[in-house]
Amino acid sequence: MARLSEENVRLAKEIIGRYPRARSATIPLLHLAQEQDGHVTNEAMAHIGELVGATSAEVYGTASFYEMFKFEPVGKYLINICGTMSCALMGAEELMHHAEHRLGVKLGGTTDDGMFTLERAECQAACTEAPCLQVNYRYRFRVTDADFDSLVDDLKAGRLNDEIPAHGTVARVRQHIPVDRGVGAVPPEDVTEAPTWMDGKAAL
């Protein structure tokens, strides 16, 4: 599948509807495409362009700026080992060497079986739990070589399937605004007045 599926188009339209301008939905829709196919395909970017009112080049222009979007298939599990200061001070380089050894790939490589891609991430906001890594954006803290080995074994054996979805899916919970509760997005040019609660009186 390359263009967005029927269900994803429905989700895409719901997401677009939350923004005063459709193009604001570009990044969320790119995530949707990556969730569907594991990476972002040219056809999906063209489709997103149709949905948000942009050319496929403009969508690619946006997508290519952001680290998380992949335009070629990557492993089922993307392992990001943090390499910034706090993790480096606590042995991230050594962990990376071990990981390269264990997986038999170099930094940036994917294993032959398509299971693992190994990357170096920049600061992942878990600096006190160094060295840390993320597998498909799920954390592992204070990782030792032995921890890394058992993580790889567990992933291979499918023991973490409930916790860690395949690459492409980030959050598994979506926001849903009920029709009767949502205010609705209004294009900025259609609003000229102050919101009603700004009249100098209490709202309640």
Binding site: Y19, P20, R21, R23, S24, A25, I27, P28, L30, H31, T62, A63, F65, Y66, E67, M68, F69, N80, G83, M85, S86, A88, L89, M90, A121, C123, A125, A126, C127, T128, E129, A130, Q134, N136, Y137, R138, F141, V170, A171, V173, Q175, H176, I177, P178, D180, R181, G182, V183, A185, P188, V191, T192, A194, P195, W197, M198, K201, A202, A203, L204
Partner: protein, 471 residues
Amino acid sequence: MNTPNSTNTYPHAPGFVAGERPRIVTSRFEHADSYTLERYLATDGYAGLRAALGRPANEVHDEVKNATVLGRGGAGFPAGTKWGLTPQGVFPRYLVVNGDESEPGTYKDRLLMERDPHQLIEGCLIACYAAGLSQCFLYIRGEMALAQERVATALNEAYAAGYVGKNILGSKFSLDIVLHWGAGAYVVGEETALIESLEGNRGMPRLKPPYFPAAIGLYGQPTIVNNVETLANLPWLMRNGAEAYTAIGTKTSPGTRMVAVSGHVKRPGVYEIINGVTTFRDLIYNEEYCGGIRNGNKLMAFVPGGGSAPWFTEDQLDVPFEGPQAGAAGSMLGSGAVMVMDETTDIPAAALTLTRFYAHESCGKCTPCREGGTWLERILSRIVDGKGTDADLAQLVEVGTSICPGDFPHASSKRLGLDAVPFPYKMNTICFVGPSAYAPINSALVLFPEEFAARVTKRTMIPVTAVGAAS
């Protein structure tokens, strides 16, 4: 008072360490289910919103102004004042919540989003009510899967229960909060880049002026960009008032702030400390906090405010968490991230981990940063690998000066007989990413010149000879 028993860690909140101190934003962290609406409502949840809606919006705004709630994202600009920068009579105005936390060493927003998403939502509601903002976009860093899930769940709960959406709590206040998420780009933490990203573009900072998106922001409209922790302060503030808020901390830096201390300390952790009062010495050495340097080692240097901040050494340990004092000492408090290096640290290599970060994260818009960052990284790599020459050291300074003209801020050093150069720097770039690539190098070079001198080889000049002369 400062006994090891006074601190607690919770298995459900890895990294966070509680203590016997006032807790404004982390009060619910002790509960394993702190992220649920049920727990939130059982612990004063949405009482601050109710208090706010019972008063006219301008009064709520004044309360926040009077409390001097300093921005917790890096610049430390007071939130109430920032809200007041929106031009009169121009609508709609938007709130963009900066949850794109990615400054090296920093994490507190992630914990606040994961552990107490309703507190953040309540803070957004109070801000929008007070400043007349008609829609809120909550931008969460792309890599933070759990934070996105927790905030999405909390928003779904809050909509269903009538705390967000149309006629909130039956009042005339209506607001949508839209969960938005990024896709991996540090520079998007800069507020105009955040807005570009939210408009569906490459996340590159906008030209300045205007200096604040409060004038021209999202879709060209007045836009307030506030940090997650800043907004998380508002529910407590509305429940307890500005007087109670300013009773904690100092007059210029009231309240508390979250600080992550990482690196070579005995107990790295995220602590909620007293603003303006707690010093770096307290934080690094007290049993209540980190309990000193690991293995009884000596402190070599520490980064006081995230990777962009010039480094401090033991000479600055008594500086408190007070912006102007940290600035006079040659650095900044930034995003509340302290990274500690002990005597075993390879200083040039440590600086390289930060410079590599900023070189990698340059968006490419400004030449001094795009080219300079990469030059700095390559030259420093060469030095770290033992292949640098003394000419490389001079080149580092030359490239650094092309990003930041004039004297770059640094700390004083008793050991070297150096005076401090106060913060901030001048810069030839639109945003702080370029200067940040040079900050660790300048700190390391100025405070530890011997570490570099030992690393480089003297370059011997080879005289130019006529072709064919050497035979």
